[in-house]
């Protein structure tokens, strides 16, 4: 359990290299053949269009969303003082999805065309409200009841899911198709504008949370310990809730619900480098980006030419992983 500086810097280097490799693989795989050679030799107009308008936005967005989801997992785990908290698991993502669908279906009537901004905002508000509500249910006097948190999460998922279904029954055919595919999580057809929006929201949240790594370390020792060590817990909690909801809202509004990234990635990072948030936060961002870029690569290849929704793929991978964590916990008790 000794984490020396050398090991950590080589791990960071390794993750950066892996991220670059996976992003290059993602760029050069797809329907149209496009290789690094073509890039050097000069691209045809068609190739150039595909690279700049389809592949690059998609690859960037997967990386950004992966980083954002992993970090929101880290933040929520610090808030609930428990490594099992995850936006998908405790119903924050599905609440955000409800917020986004609300704008797609009802907002479509009011504004004709719904922008990513509007969806992000609505998803953010829903995510923030559900986090605050869940926190007030599961946490008393700074002590989180983990079973209650997970059960309340089940209820949140059920309610948000039902409300979303209800909205869908009101929607017309074209809305229905886009809502359904979007709900399963998809990176198809992304514009540069939406990449820019999500990137800026995730960056703001990342910087916001990075300022809080010290109080995060104190807070997981206990809310009273946080006070004793000189950090204001109230303000800290609002910030963590706000920034994680911002990231979940941005990610969900663009690509739908993708679960388990925030559970799997921080867990593996903690096994590798320990629990200090100063390391867990940035390394989870890198690893989350890698995980989602690779998962997206698989989602595109596995049923080629059909595309598997990436949310589905992550649930297939993450569900068993979560079960394994629970079994491990049971064995320890």
């Amino acid at each position: 359990m000794n984490f020396n500086g050398h090991k950590i810097s080589s791990l960071i280097l390794l993750l950066i290299v892996l991220l670059v490799i996976s992003m290059l693989l993602s760029l050069f795989s797809g329907d149209m053949s496009l290789s690094a050679w073509d890039l050097l030799a000069g691209l045809s107009p068609q190739q150039s269009l595909i690279l700049w308008e389809i592949r690059l936005p998609r690859t960037l967005m997967t990386a950004i969303v992966g980083a954002g989801l992993a970090i929101s997992g880290v933040a929520l785990q610090a808030l609930f003082r428990n490594p099992l908290a995850e936006p998908g698991l405790i119903g924050v993502s599905s609440s955000a999805a409800f917020g986004a669908v609300l704008v797609i279906v009802l907002g479509g009537v009011v504004w004709q065309d719904v922008s990513v901004w509007q969806m992000s905002l609505s998803a953010f508000i829903a995510a923030a409200l559900s986090t605050a509500l869940l926190y007030s249910i599961a946490t008393r006097n700074g002590h989180t009841d983990v079973a209650l948190m997970l059960l309340a999460g089940v209820a949140f998922n059920a309610v948000a899911g039902a409300l979303t279904q209800l909205l869908i029954t009101f929607s017309d055919d074209s809305q229905l198709r886009s809502v359904l595919f979007w709900m399963m999580g998809s990176f198809a057809n992304l514009s540069w504008a939406s990449v820019g929006i999500v990137l800026s929201l995730v960056l703001v949240s990342l910087i916001g949370l990075w300022r809080l790594v010290k109080p995060m370390n104190a807070f997981v020792l206990g809310e009273n310990v946080c006070i004793q060590m000189g950090y204001e817990p109230k303000w800290f909690k609002w910030q963590v809730m706000g920034f994680s909801a911002l990231m979940v809202g941005a990610a969900v509004s663009v690509v739908g619900v993708i679960g388990f990234v925030g559970l799997v990635v921080p867990h593996i990072m903690r096994l590798l480098i320990g629990s200090d948030h100063r390391l867990v936060l940035p390394l989870s961002a890198l690893a989350g980006a890698i995980l989602l870029v690779v998962a997206d690569l698989f989602a595109r290849q596995i049923l080629y030419p059909a595309e598997l929704p990436i949310g589905l793929l992550m649930a297939l991978l993450g569900g068993p992983f979560f079960l394994m964590l629970l079994l491990n916990k049971r064995r320890r008790i």
Binding site: M1, N2, F3, R81, N82, P83, H143, V146, K214, N217, A218, V220, L221, G222, N224, V225, I227, Q228, M229, G230, Y231, E232, R270, G274, S275, D276
Partner: protein, 278 residues
């Protein structure tokens, strides 16, 4: 610290509690508690379960704000200090801490040092407090795998690191610093209780004010300078050990029988609690 108080540091009243009350849902946990705690001394709070000892300690550390009355911290209202300002003047060890994340002991102690902001002697401080708490051989261990007593010592090391002086050899090294400990002996073996008790006395002589909640009156009588007895939220008595720890007060406030002898040399009471059969 404008003026020099080094000459009467032992007498300088640092914390005053002025008719402080604390209630939760009509339930009065503390009732008009008035007490004074002077720097450079070890104060021991005694009382039965539910007497309000931990609640008083939490009011002193600003974890709880009193319903009425208040705390004066070094002649200023406690509320006028921010948590960050308090964190560099006092460190607190709570009764129990729960943790679900795997920190190493070394990391945990480092968090304590970081409270002080930028610090040049971080490695030195960590080494010192780990050695005092007898944890150096466990510094790389995962906190969650430690025994209860070891976890307590690790937390104590973190707490000490928070207020550890830059020059520990200085005769006034701990001046202005306070240590609030809630049942720090729970789970510790006698060896470590005594070892740490010796350190506490040495640091008190260097100006550290210590307020501790204890249940072991015999140990308290060995260690403390001053004593505060709480009885269902009220102050039963406060003062030096010989005045406070009498057979009558123990029978009345703590409802225990004990034999008390005064040691001729140290002038400390020796207390032997007695179990009487039914």
């Amino acid at each position: 610290m404008g003026h020099d108080v080094s000459k009467d540091v032992g007498q300088f009243v640092d914390i005053e509690v002025d008719s402080l009350s604390f209630s939760v849902h009509e339930n009065r946990m503390l009732n008009r508690v008035t007490a004074r705690f002077s720097a450079g001394q070890i104060h021991c709070i005694l009382g039965q379960n539910g007497a309000g000892k931990s609640t008083l300690l939490k009011c002193l550390s600003k974890e709880l704000s009193p319903s009425e009355g208040g705390v004066k911290w070094k002649n200023h209202p406690l509320e006028s200090f921010s948590y960050a300002q308090l964190a560099i003047q006092r460190a607190v060890l709570s009764q129990s801490t729960e943790l679900s994340f795997a920190f190493t002991v070394e990391q945990l102690v480092r968090f304590g040092v970081e409270v002080r902001g930028h610090c040049e002697h971080t490695a030195e401080i960590i080494r010192s407090v780990l050695q005092i708490c007898d944890m150096q051989h466990l510094q790389a261990r995962d906190y969650l795998t430690l025994s209860g007593g070891e976890q307590k010592r690790a937390q104590l090391a973190r707490v000490l690191a928070q207020i550890w002086p830059d020059e520990p050899q200085n005769p006034h090294a701990f001046r202005g610093k306070w240590l609030l400990l809630d049942e720090w002996t729970a789970g510790l073996d006698i060896k470590h209780q005594q070892q740490l008790g010796r350190y506490f006395q040495a640091w008190a002589a260097q100006g550290l004010g210590i307020i501790m909640v204890l249940h072991d009156i015999a140990f308290a009588a060995q260690l403390a300078d001053q004593c505060l007895i709480l009885q269902s939220g009220n102050v039963y008595s406060q003062g030096d050990l010989l005045n406070c720890l009498t057979q009558d007060s123990l029978r009345e406030a703590l409802e225990i029988n004990a034999r008390i002898e005064v040691d001729a040399i140290s002038q400390r009471p020796f207390i032997y609690p007695i179990i009487e059969s039914f």
